[in-house]
Subunit: 292 residues, 4 copies
């Protein structure tokens, strides 16, 4: 998203050793700095019609390859220079905040998955079917687990020595992990509730054609009229079955840290001592652990 | 558990109609009331040795078939008599509290699953293996999701008109549903970390035998000595692979309401209006829903 | 796909009763018959560049709304007219063949998912990582289970009274059910192996630009050079993260019968008698079932 | 099971290096050889009543710690002595056969899971409920996938140079992997269909008591009479919720190779060349792989 910004902040992305010293830097520069180039990725909304692309015709997400070619950075904009021992802590700090941001901004997305499944099931006339209700319950459980865990991460937050609040790392990572690992299943549940019309329905040009629209209106109505039903179908396609959808799905797995990174942080931030002492006591062992 | 109680409270267990009026009753009687018989189920700890059955040799769970044969209930112990319209609300009220109790008292159990997996992996000398860490992360996610959701159910609690606090129904049911539907997988993960020795290891009589024990000590040590390792194995067997374990597994699915009952309550207690209005707005429809 | 055909065959799609008699028809007409209109759906390859859309720039799938407005069908092209009792059998016969076709033509698709995951992991330089190998093993299991079950459905096929071979219904439906219910997870595994570059990588116009390409070649190489790696990334995007991908995902769930239809057929076509007699014998009951 | 045998065959269990030479041995000795001791594990059927333990009162599984203390092995019973280079191939050969045996002998077990779920659902009077049919379809899919894959492993078998037939390694391992990783879920589905009575029902002593049995017969009947229903419940408990059940569950994960071992063999035995060439062609790359 740097293409939309005025300033670019550069941070290390992982723990580093002495050999990585040249990369252990952090600084900020204006986007307009000479030698700095942004190569914006191909994903773009383009000239899309609103009927067919209700979200992606209005919202455009940019990704950028950012290249530094002999860029001058004034010393007062440098936060860290060739200090590999700071790289890990800096990356981690960023991650903890950023991953909490991630689960927070995903809540409307998971709400939307519940909403479209419920709406389209009703419009299709199948909202009372047992298997549809089962799928809806699972979608609600998904969305509301992520929400409750995100809230819990905030409520369990701590204040640092300098008075800066930060969310609880373990709870944040569990929220993100659940969001990420159940996203594709949630998409499947939505598509199951919606039916094949998500990808076989008529496009915006047909709908805009005054000779064709009456035919579509006649044959695509169900429990709901054709217009709201087809609009909901296209919203579902935009959310689960087109490039905007694919972008969201890959983001679920990789953005703000991959699934594997989350598992790593879950183990690191979990305090084993309680569970360990508890089971050692249950087993009749000294709760203070000694292997031999 | 009524066999351990002094008083028995009887409640309707579901919504009832006029034809069920004879069963729409609620009352309390002392266990010692004439005509009241308890047939206690067969599950019992028995004369178990502590080495092999570290939990179930000390804890005994009773289940009871309770039969009323011409029992007299004084009118002042009757809370509701032949009022089918009260059956549903009474059952539901009970359920909401009881299901919250359920997820609360399960927290030590899910902690124990994390603890034994971690301890035995270390004792087996495989704690650093990638697949073990993956399984441990999933167990932690399971246990801590249930804990965070249980806390959230309490924090989101409401006060009734009469000032009685009750936990949030949706969050309670989601906590219970997650606990119930992932319990068997958690058991599998623990068994995977532990190895086949959980069920092939030596029993308490062999261990108590002074001629055999030195052999067992020689061959069953790994990263940890044989004694703590075998004790931990038997704790895992008690928790995941014997009758106490089976009792816990069936309880996970059925006690305090079945999985299907939880799904039903999740849908009932979820307020669809937010998600519905949101997606209708995204789709370009009037957020106030009309089908045609 | 009727837009590509010369003849259109019309069949009942479900069991019917006397009230549905007017719809219990089967016949064939040329596409060019007066009164017959095809409204082709919007999914189209369009003017896509091969770099970015390696599959969907070459292959175009059409879906059609087919409308009959006072179409004359000669009596010798009518196979069944107002015979609702034939509707169910006709639909079922079609389904059994068509569902076998479905799992058969999906085999290259599931092979492709295994292939791209393996190739991109190697190109990314992570093919030896434990979690990547875990995901690859799960993808292979998915693809090869579907293949083995499809082969089994054919090998267990029967000859009808008239000598027509048909695949085994139960095995066919199990193959399709596994394919359908694990497809989205397979997509997730592929995206996990590939990384975020699947959706953030440079597009075809940048690649074609002689000033930009050297920059992309410099920075997007990993274990493999930028060109093969970016081509593989775009293949993965086409397969899992764009409209062609969404089309395949919805097809997995709904085409040739939905997941619920497959479950129904699995139960119907499974012969319970063996399992039933076996467990009744184990339980000490008369294997010939009587409830009381 | 060596306690039931006349001869003991000893084989290496994994690939070995020069340092392991002392353990790279294979031979056979009679069980009665001096210096050979078997310490049989504690799992035993004991004095169980048939009502409560319909399977485990009749079948006893033994596991043994086998200790060699200065045992003499005649040279003509030695198949391999201090040849670490043979250890891996020997272990692998054993595994391929043994894992095929495993999935073959599990078929009655998975059939039993389908059978008891179906029988008890009918006896409980809930066989037509939508969620029960869903669970039954999933159990059938589980059991019949394992069966079809086992058959496929045999049908795809090869003849070695010496004319010895062996099952296809990849298919065998996929069959075993599916059996192992879905076993606990299958147990959960059975318990869900059966209800809490699996662990709260009356035991054999109560049933044998002529004063108590009429009470049990009166109150435990449902769609089926109390006797068949309680017998089926106890069969389910024996299969899914007691020590015999736990033994089967741990065996599912670990016997004849663990889940991780199966994943390893799936990757090793899968021929990537077809999928690899296919996707390279789709991506517009030379199908003969070169990284740069």
């Amino acid at each position: 998203v740097s293409a939309n910004a005025n300033e670019l902040i550069v941070l290390p992305t992982r723990a580093m050793g002495p050999d990585d010293a040249d990369y252990a830097v952090a600084f900020a520069v204006p986007i307009a700095t000479p030698g700095l180039s942004l190569y914006v990725s191909s994903y773009a909304a383009g000239d899309r019609n609103e009927f067919e692309f209700p979200i992606s015709s209005r919202h455009k997400m940019l990704e950028t390859l950012t290249v530094f070619d002999d860029v001058f950075v004034p010393i007062d904009r440098v936060f860290c220079c060739r200090r590999p021992e700071l790289a890990g802590p800096l990356a981690l700090t960023f991650v903890e905040y950023h991953r909490f941001t991630a689960v927070s901004y995903k809540l409307p997305l998971v709400d939307a998955l519940v909403g479209v499944a419920s709406e389209i099931a009703e419009m299709n006339g199948v909202a009372r079917a047992g298997h549809i209700r089962d799928k809806l319950a699972r979608l609600i459980t998904y969305a509301e687990s992520v929400r409750a865990l995100t809230e819990a991460a905030a409520l369990r937050g701590h204040l640092s020595d300098r008075g800066i609040a930060f969310p609880d790392p373990m709870t944040t990572n569990i929220a993100k992990y659940l969001f990420a690992t159940q996203y594709h299943e949630a998409v499947e549940l939505v598509q199951d509730c919606a039916g094949g019309l998500v990808v076989t329905g008529p496009g915006g040009e047909d709908w805009a054609n005054p000779e064709i629209r009456p035919v579509l209106e006649k044959y695509f109505g169900a429990r709901a009229a054709a217009e709201p039903r087809l609009k909901m179908m296209h919203l579902i396609a935009d959310l689960t079955a087109r490039d905007f959808a694919g972008y969201q799905a890959v983001l679920a797995v990789h953005a703000e840290g991959s699934v594997e990174a989350e598992k790593l942080q879950i183990i690191r931030s979990y305090d084993l001592s309680r569970a360990s002492a508890y089971v050692r006591d249950l087993a009749g062992l000294d709760p203070r652990k000694e292997m031999r």
